[in-house]
């Protein structure tokens, strides 16, 4: 018996992984082990949320990076021979997963959006996006262990079951690494708000100058939402922080409403909004690809439409 392992340094992501991990483990007839970084007080929590075993990793010193755990986790996986290891697809999660996959000579499915167990041939089948989001790639993994990274918020958190039983095991401390963290800067609140916002107003290239952002911000405010942007707005014009870029290589948002103003809708950008409940857009180009991906589209000049929307919403 080898099991499904889940790895995340963030409690919220770990609970999501425990949900899918537990579902898969039930189908595969195995158990779930969760790797827990430093926080002893969360052991019981992880067990109540579905872990049959918690592998506790010792704390790191201030200058050690999270990747210092890579040799420890790899070694433990060599000994424990898990069937599947799931990571949260955060920047460090993705990096660690790839490093461990290479250490173990294993296959890794990156940014997996669906994962299931095929009873027939006893393999895992996983879906992911390719070609900037234009295609869904279905893959199986033949090597052992199968590995996957799963973007945060792909799965919900499971129900807690108080009083579940589980084992706790301590793993050895990591050895010193040549990589040192000399400073940590916490990001501004705005970017955090974007990924959690229920309404997102996204500014695209159709906006002519930086000052016009005020109108977009007002629109976002009336809608009770956060502001985001497409890549050129941050990268070429530097009007907004890169942290507010929505898309494949940026923030993936999952709001109730996305409203694109002057957004053309390149496939990489659309990938970042595909899980949105309702997509709306304003663009003067009726052939803009965003209209094919939108539920509601206004064909018109954003400078004419934005003030009208604001006054209508204020009614």
């Amino acid at each position: 018996m080898a099991g499904v392992w889940i790895v995340s340094d963030n409690r919220g992501h770990a609970l999501e992984l425990l949900n899918i991990g537990r579902q898969l483990a039930a189908k595969m007839g195995t158990c779930v082990s969760a790797l827990l970084y430093k926080e002893r007080k969360e052991i019981e929590d992880y067990i109540n949320y579905g872990a049959d075993e918690v592998m506790l990793l010792p704390s790191l010193s201030g200058e050690q990076s999270l990747e210092s755990y890579v040799p420890v986790i790899s070694e433990e996986a060599r000994k424990g021979d898990p069937d599947l290891i799931l990571f949260a697809a955060t920047p460090r999660g993705k990096n660690m997963a790839a490093l461990i996959a290479e250490e173990l000579n294993a296959g890794l499915v990156s940014s997996c959006m669906a994962i299931d167990f095929n009873y027939g041939n006893k393999t895992l089948v996983m879906d992911r996006l390719a070609y900037g989001g234009a295609a869904v790639q279905k893959v199986t993994c033949s090597a052992r262990p199968a590995m996957a990274t799963i973007p945060p918020r792909t799965y919900e958190t499971t129900m807690r079951e108080m009083g579940r039983q589980g084992h706790v095991r301590e793993l050895p401390p990591p050895s010193p690494s040549p990589i040192k963290v000399i400073e940590r800067k916490v990001k501004e609140r705005e970017a955090k708000d974007l990924s959690e916002a229920r309404v997102v107003v996204c500014v695209g290239r159709g906006m002519e100058k930086k000052e016009d952002l005020t109108v977009a911000r007002e629109l976002a405010e009336v809608l009770g939402g956060a502001i985001g942007c497409t890549r050129p707005i941050a990268e070429e014009f530097h009007w907004l922080s890169e942290e507010l870029c929505i898309g494949l290589s940026g923030v993936q948002v999952k709001p109730d409403l996305y409203l694109g103003v002057g957004v053309s809708g390149q496939v990489q950008h659309l990938t970042g909004i595909r899980s949105t409940k309702v997509i709306a857009a304003v663009n003067k180009d009726e052939n803009a690809p965003i209209f094919k991906a939108a539920d509601f589209g206004i064909i018109g000049d954003i400078y004419d439409v934005m003030p009208k929307l604001i006054s209508e919403l204020k009614k």
């Binding site: 290479e102 890794l108 893959v139 990589i179 390149q266 409940k277 209209f291 539920d295 209508e312």
Partner: protein
């Protein structure tokens, strides 16, 4: 190699050091020669992939992918990697090397990379390299870097290929070469043979140091890649390209992942359209309210 040359240098030094003054003169000449002969110019290797331009992929009638009118390009994110290598060349006098593994058609990409300012290219081509797994690509690149390029200080990869975007080749390559890997960096500098990099993490930014040689994967906002001009394209033809065939490499093995299918991704949306007069705007807002997405 370096060590052996230095030793023979010292022995010739002993022979010519009968008198102190001569010794000093000799030492100076030796150091100069030594620098020329033994101390290689620092170099950065930018890895890239020649990929299908996804903008030209059409959706076929049964949801399959239609590649009939596609064009190819250097992956968007890999252009940032090449630009950083060239930036090191321009600011610190490093040598900028590019390396790619792919189909023989990727020769166009090699020329494109050279026209973007790289000094030389390594090109591993084979008709079977169309769909390499990240682990196989990393194996090929590691082999060529270790056995053919040999001397390097920094390897730069994009944050992911713009076709499959698995984001694995960089870290896997670093493990194969046994060098530190710092992923998703938005800024870096080289100071006293050490890398200082700012990498993006979930909570913000971490400033990391690592000894060289090291590998970094760069975020797209690290730079704006240049667009090569006519002169750059002409110059590219004169730059050296080392072609390597599959037979010169150890076997790359079976991929650990198998693709069962590719289907055009569906964005099933109602695509309702609205005008801009007051009544239409009211209808639009009404539709949002009906969906319950706004108060």
């Amino acid at each position: 190699m370096r060590v052996r040359q230095r030793r023979s240098g010292w022995s010739s030094l002993v022979l010519c050091s009968a008198e102190h003054l001569e010794y000093e003169a000799c030492l100076k000449i030796f150091i100069r020669k030594d620098r020329k002969r033994c101390k290689f110019m620092p170099s950065a290797i930018a890895c890239f992939k020649w990929v299908v331009d996804e903008a030209y992929i059409r959706r076929g009638p049964s949801g399959d992918l239609d590649f009939s009118s596609v064009d190819f390009k250097i992956g968007e994110y890999d252009r940032n990697a090449i630009e950083e290598a060239v930036r090191l060349k321009e600011t610190l006098g490093w040598k900028a090397v590019t390396v790619t593994a792919g189909l023989p058609e990727a020769a166009k990409g090699v020329k494109d990379a050279l026209s973007r300012g790289a000094d030389e290219a390594y090109f591993i081509a084979d008709s079977s390299f169309g769909n390499l797994d990240s682990s196989q690509t990393a194996l090929i690149l590691a082999e060529v870097i270790r056995a053919r390029i040999r001397e390097y200080d920094l390897i730069i990869c994009g944050e992911g290929s713009s076709d499959f975007y698995a984001q694995q080749v960089g870290p896997r390559l670093a493990v194969k070469l046994g060098i530190p890997c710092i992923s998703f960096i938005e800024k870096f500098l080289i100071e006293n043979s050490q890398l200082i990099a700012e990498r993006r993490v979930e909570e913000g930014v971490e400033v990391i140091t690592a000894p060289l040689p090291a590998l970094v994967t760069v975020l797209p906002d690290i730079n704006v890649p240049r667009i090569p001009g006519v002169r750059d394209t002409l110059m590219a033809g004169k730059k050296p390209t080392v072609k390597i065939s599959k037979d010169e490499l150890p076997p790359i093995g079976e991929p650990p992942l198998r693709t069962i299918s590719f289907k055009a991704s569906k964005m099933e949306r109602s695509c309702e359209r609205f005008g801009t007069d007051t009544a239409e705007i009211a209808r639009f807002v009404g539709s949002l309210r009906k969906k319950g997405v706004i108060g």
